[in-house]
Symmetry: C2
Subunit: 107 residues, 2 copies
DNA sequence: ATAACAAATGAATGATTGTTCATGTATATT
DNA sequence: AATATACATGAACAATCATTCATTTGTTAT
């Protein structure tokens, strides 16, 4: 497995940057939902409550996630519903979660 | 899947932060090696050459990766051999790689 | 000893970015 | 029309961090 091209590395760095913020991680988790494959939709208010971020902060980070195409949005009346774009997000969180949990076991 | 505890989120953020830098991504790739399960060891000079980072930069980032326990080192004479600590690193890179490659296909 | 090589370190800097505060816009309700 | 709710936006600030340059430490060879 040799080092990928500059372009690929650049995109990988970008995706990891997007994912490497606690507020955004919480938002992504809240959009994963409880059940397996269903695609959860949540309003900004619901996300704000679950993540206990400020409304402004959540909105800013939702924009970041949307611009990076990790989530999408749908407007309906006063509400905006956000949901995940991509199954890779779940895999990413799972791998990282496993890593940090197993690290704890070593100590 | 509810939002993990603050501690877990914090550690996840930290690991993702470590991984979200192009220099460090290249270093990790260069330590993955060609074959499947074997654990590759490489000197700083080799890593410098493969990643085309400066010697100082590589050394700095190797320290970051080592402090985060993603890699380990072994000294032998003038050389220091670095290698991966953890199989999760490979999984992480694979998931992210798949994501960015599939994204390209959509456009 | 001294020269040459391998790697680490420390300071300095420029850029990026997470967060807050304040405000703006759109939609619904009375 | 006025008010309330839901969400977005822009400016501003503090903090973090990747990178470079210069120097230093440790090791081998002459």
């Amino acid at each position: 497995m040799s080092i990928p091209s500059y372009e690929i590395i650049d995109k990988m760095e970008n995706m990891l940057n997007i994912a490497s913020d606690s507020t955004r991680i919480k938002i992504l988790y809240s959009l994963l939902g409880e059940n397996e494959e269903e695609n959860i939709e949540k309003t900004v208010s619901e996300i704000v409550e679950e993540t206990s971020a400020s409304q402004s902060l959540a909105s800013h980070q939702l924009k970041v996630l949307k611009d990076a195409r990790l989530i999408k949005s749908r407007k309906q009346g006063k509400n905006v519903f956000y949901s995940l774009c991509d199954r890779h997000v779940k895999l990413l969180l799972e791998v990282v979660y496993e890593h940090v949990v197993e690290e704890d076991e070593d100590e």
